[in-house]
Symmetry: C2
Subunit: 197 residues, 2 copies
Amino acid sequence: MAHVPGDRAPGTGEDARVARTRADVARAALKVLTVEGSDAVTHARVAELAGYSKTTLYTHWPARVDLIVLALDALGELPHHDRTGDLRTDIVGELQAFRGGITEMRLDRILTGMAQWASVEEMREIRDKINTSGQGQMRAMLGEFLDGVELEAALSMLTGVVACPSIMFGTLPNDDVIAAAVDIVLRSADPGKSSKR
Amino acid sequence: MAHVPGDRAPGTGEDARVARTRADVARAALKVLTVEGSDAVTHARVAELAGYSKTTLYTHWPARVDLIVLALDALGELPHHDRTGDLRTDIVGELQAFRGGITEMRLDRILTGMAQWASVEEMREIRDKINTSGQGQMRAMLGEFLDGVELEAALSMLTGVVACPSIMFGTLPNDDVIAAAVDIVLRSADPGKSSKR
């Protein structure tokens, strides 16, 4: 496995092969995590789906949590709403984008899978990074009219309107429930102003 | 294993032995689930902790999901706040009780563990029942001044103010964040009335 720099053209040979294996296994691990759930993420199952030997997987990623960490490498961009400038429209749109991410990317399984492995320090750091990034746009929008404990409360509340039904009951809020949640926050912040609905 | 009714005094012999085994294994499975996480709930680990053989566990509970279902049998009453009659105090108290349940009973691991196994129909039913029961008191209180989509939104939002930080970041809201969340909902429902804070 010794590698002498410059003994091959860039992007070929050992390095390229390892990178390709890594990408293949990451995609397979993410697929198992999101389609079958985190409990199904085993060396045997991921190896089978990726088309590599279990030995190869154990060599590079000895623990099951390594496969979960690797899967998150393949997650890519989280879905966000393109802002229009109208705050109510944009907050509703961001929650709808989160809801779409649960349907299309199974972000609910990503969330609970990351939570389950959070006793591992490396996983905890990745979880915090992914979840902070996921909430970033919503935090910025709410920060335009809230701060301090009200901002923290509203951020968890609006995340919860999509995440809680999904994690607790396997259901998703319809557009009316999402709009009602956003109006509760907006109306509360500006009690003199009536709802736009 | 044949059992002739009436051949033993009630509560002794085979039936009592099975009931005792079941209770012992349920407690051990719940402990593994809440202390070590749902991934650790294996026949080997639960048998070890309960002091029974793996064969005994496989005979009665052949699949890992059976052990999770069994663990939930031992969960007992979910924590709730004793109502005082003052709505704001009681909603805040109920959220603090939920927060206490995460600290003391690791309800966050129960929640994510149930979500992870929800592809199994039996588990889905138990999850829905436990979560519906968990939210029952909050739903009744919010139902005193909200209905329809506003009630559904507020219920998920207030659940989320405790559940989301816990599942996403392993943190819990302090009393000020909980109070802010409750005031957002109360102020929004009665925009003419200023916050009691």
